[in-house]
Symmetry: C2
Subunit: 119 residues, 2 copies
DNA sequence: CGTGATACTCACTTTTTAGTAAGTATGCAT
DNA sequence: ATGCATACTTACTAAAAAGTGAGTATCACG
């Protein structure tokens, strides 16, 4: 096993490393929505009705910190903040797309019908 | 969002569904090791020194239950149990390979040198 | 002076996932 | 009878991830 440390955390393999950056319940859904358009905080939220403010904020912050998205603040009142994907984020989109397609296949195998369009 | 239920759990998207089947710390490492050979419980363990018995057993059981691997028990003493990958498991290997390659790329971007061969 | 709009922040609880440490069954060899 | 090998179980604990519910700042508008 090719173990290694990053930020004081021990990783066992590259998959684990990748998933620690873009895994979890919300990071891929966020990136996916930003893949071809810039969105404001409120727009992201409207499009992901079950995400909470806390989750949305922390996940956006982490994605920004690690270079997957860009955060642009417009100094107006009420506040306006836009999120857009970076080059690094775009690379992630390719894998996300593959995992997503695989997920769709698996769902079929498990007898789950696609319930609606995946926006 | 294409929400759907499976086994009483609410999923928000296909990615989440896929990751619930083959995600977590140990499932991909296990599948990866079985991709081209049959291994016994003890061999898997020897090859993943940090996994505990509890984790190895539960993960193997779940992978078997969902059709990614096959468990063969030889009624001998001491016990002998072999694990092999199924067709469904082989499909997973393809995505795992893609995620793994992506992980390696990301590691480079983050300045992490490959510490050893990924067995 | 109170309300609304937007993008948060904070303290806390719950749920999920992973890890620890110890124990079990079987039958052969000594 | 004791120990050894293999593949597990079980009860418990710890750590990580996610969710809850409430609160904050700013300024324009009426």
């Amino acid at each position: 096993m090719p173990e290694f440390l990053f930020n004081n955390k021990l990783y066992y393999n590259p998959v684990e490393f990748a998933m620690d950056r873009i895994g979890g319940t919300w990071k891929m859904p966020i990136l996916w929505r930003l893949k071809d358009k810039i969105l404001r905080y409120g727009e992201l939220k409207k499009d992901m009705p079950r995400i909470t403010d806390k989750m949305l904020t922390t996940q956006l912050r982490e994605l920004e910190e690690e270079g997957f998205i860009t955060r642009t603040v417009y100094p107006v009142v009420p506040p306006k903040v836009e999120y857009s994907i970076t080059e690094r984020g775009k690379k992630a989109i390719m894998v996300i797309d593959q995992i997503r397609n695989y997920g769709l296949e698996l769902m079929k195998e498990f007898g789950i019908e696609e319930p609606a369009k995946d926006k």
